[in-house]
């Protein structure tokens, strides 16, 4: 059974892949807000966090990762995370990239789901678009 939930052939499936985390705060918000826009267009949208990506959805990091803005007044990543979750974007991680940071699922925020490499590839093959960051 696919990780994708829709059976409606008219609903498009978009998979975002986020590989960046704490070290690159300027690269963390975009996948969330593009995914939010995608979900607002009645698509099914997931973000897969791999490499440093799981840092974006680790508990507490939503407050500490600040999206910089020239001239000051950056926004906390939490804002973009909550906006995405509220509209139904699902967050996925895999075990090896949790191990990379010494994380367990308990370190992840509420709602994060665990998948494996096979499920990821299966999702990618079924998706209408896969977008990597």
């Amino acid at each position: 059974m696919s990780v994708w939930k829709t059976n409606d052939p008219d609903t498009k499936k978009i998979l975002y892949v986020q590989t960046h985390g704490e070290k690159d705060p300027e690269r963390t918000a975009t996948p969330f807000f593009l995914a939010t826009a995608g979900a607002a267009m009645d698509n099914e949208v997931c973000i897969y966090f791999t490499m440093n990506g799981p840092q974006c959805v680790a508990k507490g990091n939503g407050d500490t990762i600040i999206i910089p803005r020239k001239g000051g007044g950056g926004k906390e990543l939490k804002f973009f995370i909550e906006q995405a979750q509220e509209i139904g974007v699902r967050f996925l991680v895999c075990q090896p990239s949790l191990d990379l940071h010494g994380y367990t699922m308990d370190d992840m925020i509420e709602g994060v789901e665990m998948i494996g490499g096979a499920a990821f590839n299966d999702m990618a093959c079924d998706a209408d678009a896969v977008i990597g960051f």
Binding site: A40, M41, N43, Q83, I87
Partner: protein
Amino acid sequence: MTDVIKEDQVLDCSGMLCPMPVVKTSKAMKEMQSGQVLKMVATDPGAPPDMEAWSRQTGNELMRSMTEGGKFIFYLKKK
């Protein structure tokens, strides 16, 4: 002279930036009945192409898109 479109609901997204106008529009339209019209007002310069794309993807008709006093105004009909 273009026909006047009568809206059932108004959504002011002035001052909001991408993707908020799309998100708010999506939420508002979900609560409306088929055939009803939403008038959405935005100032984000990305709103005109965004609303066109949103309409094309969701199948809700963009009846009219116009600019008035520096604001973008959209009339959207729920499918």
